[in-house]
Subunit: 342 residues, 2 copies
DNA sequence: ATGAAAGCGCTAACAC
DNA sequence: GTGTTAGCGCTTTCAT
């Protein structure tokens, strides 16, 4: 029976040193950038590395450096399909790219329930990763606090609800400001009766967008606020309900593009013209949605991939202990993208 | 890679040993299960571990054991949205769950292009992971060969095209058999003119399903085979084309559910009754699609999450060197799920 | 600029 | 059963 078929044992630093006729220390220096080694030797060592197909042993290295070149990305799946959410995919893509740029790998920790919490905590404390990235999805989630309590540095995607992972820095877009801009735009178009289709109340992004709506429309008719859950269907339903409640409606700001698309669908069914009868603004500028909306959707753009990259950058800064100069959290700008719907 | 923020150094085995008044070896034994240690000492050590909050250093451990408790999951993104594909999500979920059961973590390696290949190869050879899991998506992909050439054991999801990652074991469902069953079912219903909407020719699953179609319908009218690309839209388009080409059509087997849904859409537009006029069978039994198809879709079910789990099981078996007893690859069964559409 | 040597924290022979 | 000891492969002072 073949023991652990990892093939013939790989060459070590020692072997490279012998092959190049230098000491292990010199090889180590060359492998790690080669600063302070004469070019002559650098070349020799490089050749030896090449000849032998040497690849540094990561375990040995991190045993002494205490660095792992890996970051945990914690994904909590609350109900369903977080993973296949395009928002999520974009953010993870940004994280992945930036991590690669920092020579770090992504260890995916998939949390399916409270039963996994113990496992996650142990992993974070087990010295496998340099830091952790997580997403604050729902306010009833115990995970943020768990992560904040762990021994590794962490950065959140999305503003955590007040009173959970308090001291953990996060990256989020300016949801409130973006919402404000959307509503202001509708008002500037001369719309008098602006409704809002809100996202789920247990997500800070939805709450912040509601707040932005209220910033502009002080004391609006409560009947103009309708609850959705960020799905297309809920947007369609909410739109129908709003029309029934307030037929005089002339504009609607949906808390995300998917709900805006649903609203557009309902408006078409009811033979209402967009934007002539009702102007519609979404949020996210999500490519997969915006691509085939009719008419083209005016929306608030946020740079989701960029936010993922920022999460990594922030974490890396924290790990280097340069927290003195850097701000704790990052709020990214949004921008209104004007298209046909408003 | 970031520098390390120097936290309070964690207790080592040594410290626990001293605290418990035993040797390091004994502590090590207890920490690793405690076999062959008197209960009396086990308790003492456990308490010491508890008192000091000891957590084993993973790097030190894998330096000597040469095991890492981690598996690379390689995701190649050919054109777009692999990640948010529900098929993919289910498979990764299965992988994640089974990995957890094996006390292993998932290191996600996201490949965006040929430029990443070098990086992936180095990572696999760098001794970070015990093995690798990958998906064979497109036949023009150089990745399978790259992985097969690396020093770690690997298992593929989906049958790789002949002549690529030749010796690498894989897990796939019986695409050909499933397709056969689908078409046989249509024939047994008395359908005389059975069309096939095929998937992209560079994916083995699509090819195998075409083969299954041909197994049953020897020498069918070539006009009855129409090319799609696994998207809903392509299914709708293909259905339209098929109807134009052969109005006498009375059944269609689509290579996946999404295309079947598209086909259903076209049939409804053309006022054709399903299954009275035309019977429709899909492939996958993808929940998110099948859930709201009208009429309910008859389809070939494959256990996608189970396939993900099997990939891990197979890999673990390979890592234990028990390849003698175990078959190289696994082909899972499919089953026809009869609903209303056929 | 380079080499010698001392560990990093752990496991696994091997001795007792 | 339990302890002693020899590394795993690497980085990093500290001499030279």
């Amino acid at each position: 029976m073949p023991e652990q078929t990892t093939g013939a044992s790989r060459p070590t630093l020692e072997a490279v040193a012998a092959h190049a006729g230098v000491s292990r220390a010199t090889v180590s220096r060359v492998v790690n950038g080669g600063a302070g080694v004469r070019q002559h030797l650098v070349d020799k060592v490089r050749k030896a590395v090449e000849d032998l197909g040497y690849v540094p042993n990561h375990a040995a290295r991190s045993l002494v450096t205490r660095r792992h070149g890996a970051v945990a990305v914690i994904i909590a799946e609350p109900e369903f399909r977080v993973f296949s959410d395009p928002f999520f995919e974009q953010q993870v893509r940004g994280i992945s790219r930036e991590l690669t740029a920092h020579d770090s790998q992504m260890v995916l920790l998939w949390v399916e329930g409270v039963g996994d919490h113990q496992r996650i905590a142990r992993y974070l404390d087990g010295g496998h990763v340099d830091g952790a990235l997580a997403f604050s999805l729902h306010s009833d989630d115990r995970l943020p606090a768990l992560i904040a309590r762990s021994s590794v540095q962490a950065v959140f995607g999305g503003r955590p609800p007040v009173g959970s992972g308090l001291s953990v820095p996060f990256v989020d877009c300016d949801n409130r400001g973006g919402a404000r801009e959307a509503v202001r735009h509708l008002v500037s178009l001369g719309r008098r009766c602006v409704a809002h289709i809100a996202g789920p109340r247990d997500q800070t992004s939805a709450l912040d967008r509601i707040a932005g709506y209220h910033d502009v429309l002080v004391d609006p008719d409560p009947a103009l606020l309708c609850q959705g859950d960020f799905t297309r269907e809920s947007g369609a339903r909410a739109m129908a309900e709003l029309l029934d409640r307030r037929p005089e409606l002339d504009a609607v700001f949906a808390a995300n593009d998917l709900m805006a698309a649903g609203a557009l669908h309902t408006l078409r069914e009811r033979r209402l013209r967009v934007p002539e009868d009702i102007a519609v603004v979404g949020f996210d500028d999500m490519d997969s949605v915006v691509r085939d909306t009719e008419p083209a959707l005016t929306t608030v753009r946020q740079d989701i991939e960029g936010m993922g990259r920022l999460m990594v950058k922030l974490l890396m800064r924290l790990l280097q202990g340069r927290s003195d100069a850097a701000p704790a959290s990052v709020i990214t700008q949004t921008s209104l993208v004007r298209r046909a719907s408003a």
